[in-house]
């Protein structure tokens, strides 16, 4: 019996061999690169060791700061909209008294954008939002909703808003499915008790549903934060030459990392940006985690 346990090693070893080579080693190599002035030529191990110099540069880099602010603005608008829509939809579909029909259909339609290749989505909206020939401006002009074309991607504010709305469009269906599953998981007793006590719809929502949904909301916010702070494809493909749109308003942190490495060949600095981003994600995930569970501790 005991000898059988050797097979455990055999069964998990392919995973851990590949994991060590393609998962862990690259992370450690990135860390080493962040302490060098590696320029992408030859081996990173031959580059000059510069200690914490790249991190010092990162702290004083106003372009990274701008990328940080851009990323938060785009993510912030998106998460508020996405969660609000998901909550409204979940409440509508879970209300026993309303009996709204066609949930499977609506749910499938709302989720569809999430499955589409993000690069295709970016290109599609690039052409739809085009200033002169884009389908959106053409349609708005045709029905008289605007009198002259709006340069959606040509101004910082509308460019950022466009990306936020595309992100919302991509993700609200996914969030709805998760939040709705969370509501389904709440025992019916709570709702019945609230009804017997004479609570109306909004009281039930704010005093019963929302507090009980906290773990699910936490899951949604943290996963969205981790993904949102790594936003890359849409800003990259929707800006000229991937450089980040009008006045750099679409430069996100990962886009900045990508350009530092693959456009300007500053691999050492880009690796420091990657670790900086990692620390930011870790820090904010912990803040969100603590913030949302504060009252229970």
């Amino acid at each position: 019996m005991r000898s059988k346990n050797r097979y455990g090693y055999l069964f998990v070893s392919p995973f851990f061999i590949v994991f060590a080579i393609f998962g862990i080693y690259p992370i450690l190599l990135s860390l080493y690169m962040s302490f060098t002035d590696f320029k992408g030529v030859g081996s990173p191990y031959d580059a000059n060791f510069v200690g914490l110099q790249q991190y010092a540069r990162l702290l004083g880099d106003k372009y990274f700061l701008q990328a940080f602010v851009n990323t938060w603005k785009i993510w912030g608008v998106n998460i508020v909209l996405q969660l609000s829509i998901a909550l409204i939809l979940s409440v509508i579909f879970s209300d026993i008294r309303l009996k709204i029909k066609g949930m499977n259909f609506f749910r499938a339609v709302f989720y569809l954008p999430n499955l589409i290749t993000v690069s295709s989505v970016a290109l599609l909206f690039l052409f739809i939002l085009d200033w002169q020939h884009g389908a959106l401006n053409s349609m708005l002009l045709k029905y008289g909703l605007i009198s002259k074309p709006i340069n959606w991607l040509g101004q910082p504010a509308t460019a950022q808003l466009s990306v936020s709305l595309i992100q919302t469009w991509l993700w609200f269906g996914h969030t709805f499915i998760i939040v709705f599953a969370g509501i389904q998981g709440i025992s019916k007793d709570y709702f019945e008790a609230a009804m017997i006590d004479g609570a109306n719809r909004s009281q039930t929502f704010f005093k019963v549903t929302l507090p009980l949904l906290r773990p699910i909301m936490l899951y949604v916010v943290i996963t969205s934060l981790i993904g949102g702070l790594q936003l890359f494809e849409i800003p990259f493909l929707m800006s000229q030459n991937g450089l980040g749109g009008p006045e750099g308003s679409l430069v996100t942190m990962v886009l900045y990392l990508f350009n530092q490495a693959f456009k300007y060949r500053n691999f050492g600095y880009a690796a420091a940006v990657a670790y900086g981003l990692f620390i930011i994600i870790l820090g904010f995930s912990m803040i969100v985690f603590k913030g949302m569970f504060k009252e229970e501790v």
Partner: protein, 283 residues
């Protein structure tokens, strides 16, 4: 009663409006794929044009030869399919194997190794991106599919999901019975466990396939030759090229990259949606 009906009417209107917002970009895309460049420039209409064939011919003409190399859209499909199918098979098989290793045996360091999987699930993928690029450069694997396919042997979330599945559905007595019958450990896994895990493997396979099909950043940095591009990278590459000069052809190319996913979703939608909610609530 009337008041409730009125309220319900508003809610249905809201739901339908939201559905339209979800579908309109796809409709614009499909309609414009059938219209000529001049028609698109003149303005938007909901009526399809009759330039679908011309758009296709123009798209193929400009895609087929770039620097003397073949870069047709069908090649992009083939490349994406090779990558996504390999990833699906490798991650399905090896995740099941790893999950079973953790479930069925007690070995030294098991807890530490499983903890490592949990930690890796939470590390953002871009952290190792530059190291990954340099590693493949030094192994001379750039511009090959190996960096896109082989790492899927180690997919932490899938292992985690499958171990949960084994814990909740499998009975240890089953393995004991097979051992008493004289079956070897490796054949127990292949003949008994693997078939039993098929529902979990199928669920994860859908996501593995779609994830690999849609992957953009990693192939963007690893693959240089247009004839090796998977579909998403090919689409980005078209943006700056001759195809994009004809808007109808560009909308058609985007439509072609999107339609397979829409069809797959139409077939598997119930399955996909129930897997998302199951996966998130368990955590």
């Amino acid at each position: 009663m009337n008041k409730t009906n009125f309220f319900k009417g508003i809610l249905y209107a809201f739901l339908i409006l939201l559905s339209i917002i979800c579908l309109v970009p796809f409709a614009m895309m499909l309609i414009n794929a059938t219209r000529s460049n001049t028609e698109i420039v003149r303005g938007f209409t909901l009526i399809p044009g009759n330039s679908l064939v011309d758009n296709y011919k123009n798209m193929m003409y400009h895609m087929n030869v770039t620097d003397g190399r073949f870069t047709g859209i069908w090649l992009g499909f083939k490349n994406s399919f090779i990558i996504a199918a390999s990833v699906t098979v490798l991650s399905g098989y090896f995740s099941a194997l790893t999950a079973y290793g953790f479930y069925a045996y007690d070995f030294k360091g098991k807890k530490v190794l499983f903890m490592l999987i949990l930690i890796m699930m939470m590390i953002p993928s871009q952290l190792g991106l530059l190291g990954f690029f340099e590693l493949n450069k030094s192994l001379k694997l750039l511009n090959t599919y190996i960096p896109l396919i082989v790492p899927s042997i180690a997919t932490p979330f899938t292992v985690f999901f499958m171990r949960q599945y084994l814990v909740s559905t499998m009975h240890p007595a089953l393995i004991e019975a097979a051992r008493v019958d004289g079956a070897g450990e490796i054949s127990i896994f292949h003949k008994i466990i693997l078939p039993m895990m098929l529902p979990a493997i199928a669920t994860m396979s859908i996501f593995a396939f779609i994830g690999a099909w849609n992957n953009y950043l990693v192939p963007l940095i690893i693959i240089f030759s247009p004839e090796k591009y998977p579909l998403p990278v090919l689409m980005g590459y078209l943006k700056g090229g001759k195809v994009a000069e004809n808007l109808g052809s560009m909308y058609l190319a985007i439509s072609m990259s999107v339609i397979p996913i829409i069809i797959a979703f139409a077939v598997f939608s119930k399955y996909i949606i129930s897997s998302i909610s199951a996966g998130s609530v368990k955590e």
